[in-house]
Symmetry: C2
Subunit: 394 residues, 2 copies
């Protein structure tokens, strides 16, 4: 397969956006990404989205968005893997361009989820879990994650407050990201006093939903210099996708032998590491799927950054900040940038590219060379991992 | 890109299936396809589906189905392009295997849509159209197609009854397809007397919805003999995918300069013909998207089988039957095999493989070498075309 480069990024701010329809939100990010790439078109359009049918009564999102951004005619499709829809769409775009079938693609994630009533949105989000064996019991998506967190606290003996650094770090980084949903510094005391949602998950353990879209433009790496002269003029580092892998697990959490181990994260990360020829020690930062603080911990463990049951230690030791050994949520993460579910996976990629290009401002990681992004659909059921690397300046 | 072969097919009967959940229906077709291929696993699973979120309150269908069929761990995703979801999933599967990223894939289409109330299903189907500019006016999906048919009758001077051969042919062929939803011969008189749905579309112009799943197993053509010895023993003809293309159009019918021309069908078919190196005259049969009889006519014209406004002539002259020059709906088509929307595109592929293998029984086309299948999402908004060719016996 041909190697793939990301030559354009775009995003809309994550917010409560009642003024724009889903096509307008997607269009904003896509036009920005095309502009950033110096292009006006692309061969294919891949839209990551989970909820448009349920909440906007709109499917056929590929054609809808292609039409809206002036690319009608082009190959376009929607991809769904619950909250992992964005990265799932990227992976399909990579294979489409990598195969030689398309010469370029726009991959966007979009979600519009705040204009409906809370109960309706919560119910729609629960479709990420097993309808027949989990949801039918009345458990919500946050409820499932609360059961997992409770078990983690019990099993490994941590206190709830030991998870505070995950949220504090995310909020601190989001302060410097104009596209983030939340711009408020929080303290450990705020974390301890936050309103309980589903014990032990409180408001500051949980990521906020939101409306938003993010987009990237991908082309074959070999073409960047030859076919896209605008890129050469930018004196940017090439951003290459050196790993892409997706794995699944039992959909229902109760079916797993060990509900505290993200087997699909381990599997997809192992594949991605092998493709990139790296180990966890080579990763300069990790945009992980911190939908809940417990998920940040489980991801760090399954991906090889902490021993089983030891991830909170990384937070307490300051290793997850931008100056630590494994910075996470460097632009705010799901926790503070916000979690417009089907779009999240592409926000992560946009943020990783910002880091690798040196465009991350106050949260820039020095000499960032290799970044990893991981997007999760369901409570660990579908996990897609991408590794991005910065090459020499064009 | 590597060439792709289809080495396994499976399908569940299209029916009103209240006894099985969506995962069970999908599983039935997938297990049958794996069995037909002589395999027990595949690297990736691509699920074409439109309505699971809205009607079964279940998303994350990739992981759900992978889990159910015993392939948890594998790369799995859901693909949506309204009623074109099945073929859209196939196209992504082809690129994934073609790229070398996967060595094999299961592509399935599944839909469960009869267990909900009629109004709910009709409303969910309308999400294939433009929610903000079409559906908001109160027009249903059949209503949109009725407007197009009315315009066609007005523009070209045909009588409604001139469309009867499309439905009569589909019903006649479905009689011999055990997986078809409708097994009843109809006459021109039945057609003329059928209950009106949305003038001029009557009950016998419209395809019935249904529950069902169809699946295929794809591998690189070069591997068929080398890596899959079970295939050699079968003395089957290799079935090669020689063309795969997808194109879009304005989502809203009223935006199109000519609502009677399927521009996306013309575009995707032209690309597919070029890939296969053939012309319409080389096509031995055409599994087209006859969701409504008017769509059969428009497809025949846009794909080069009839002059503009002249497709009904093909029906009246008997050219669309299995003995004619361009047989369509050879196993019943959407009209009589039934239209479980996100599954339909894969049923078409299964049926095309049956023809090319010589397994189509009483509706077998003599010496069928090249078949074309076309799946449509929305009223012509997303159109995916595949060309299949039978190679020599292994």
């Amino acid at each position: 397969m041909r190697q793939i480069a990301i030559i354009g990024i775009g995003q809309s701010p994550v917010t409560e956006n009642w003024d724009q329809s889903i096509r307008e939100i997607a269009g904003e990010a896509i036009i920005a990404a095309l502009h950033d790439a110096g292009l006006t078109s692309a061969d294919g359009i891949f839209i990551g989205n989970m909820l448009s049918g349920q909440l906007s009564k709109q499917e056929n999102l590929g054609a809808l968005v292609a039409d809206w951004v002036g690319l009608r005619g082009q190959d376009a499709v929607k991809v769904e893997a619950a909250c992992g829809s964005g990265a799932a769409a990227l992976r399909l775009g990579i294979m489409a361009v990598g195969s030689g079938e398309l010469e370029s693609a726009i991959v966007a994630g979009v979600e519009k989820m705040t204009e409906t009533k809370g109960a309706e949105t919560t119910s729609a989000l629960a479709t990420a879990a097993d309808a027949d064996y989990e949801v039918i019991q009345g458990v919500t998506f946050v409820g499932l994650n609360a059961l997992v967190m409770q078990r983690y606290l019990h099993e490994y003996g941590w206190r709830h407050t030991d998870f505070a650094p995950f949220s504090i770090n995310a909020h601190a980084n989001a302060l410097h990201n104009p596209a983030a949903r939340l711009h408020e510094m929080i303290t450990e005391q705020d974390y301890q006093r936050a309103r309980m949602i589903a014990e032990p998950i409180n408001l500051l353990d949980a990521s906020p939903i939101g409306d938003g879209a993010a987009a990237v433009v991908i082309v074959p790496l070999e073409d960047v210099r030859r076919k896209f002269p605008s890129q050469a003029g930018l004196k940017r580092r090439n951003i290459r996708i050196s790993g892409s892998a997706s794995a699944t697990d039992y959909l229902a959490v109760h079916s797993r032998k060990d509900p505290l181990w993200l087997a699909a994260a381990e599997r997809s990360t192992r594949q991605a590491y092998a493709q990139a020829g790296i180990t966890p020690a080579d990763v300069d930062f990790f945009e992980l799927h911190d939908a809940f603080s417990i998920m940040a911990a489980l991801s760090l463990e399954a991906c090889g950054f902490a021993e089983r049951g030891q991830a909170p230690r990384l937070g307490l030791d300051g290793e997850i900040t931008i100056h630590g050994s494994i910075p996470i949520a460097t632009r705010g993460g799901l926790k503070a940038r916000g979690h417009p579910v089907g779009a999240t996976g592409i926000y992560q990629i946009v943020e990783a590219v910002q880091q690798l290009r040196g465009e991350a401002g106050a949260t820039q990681i020095e000499n960032a060379q290799i970044g990893m992004a991981q997007n999760i659909g369901g409570s660990g059921a579908t996990i897609i991992t991408h590794i991005l690397e910065a090459d020499r300046v064009n």
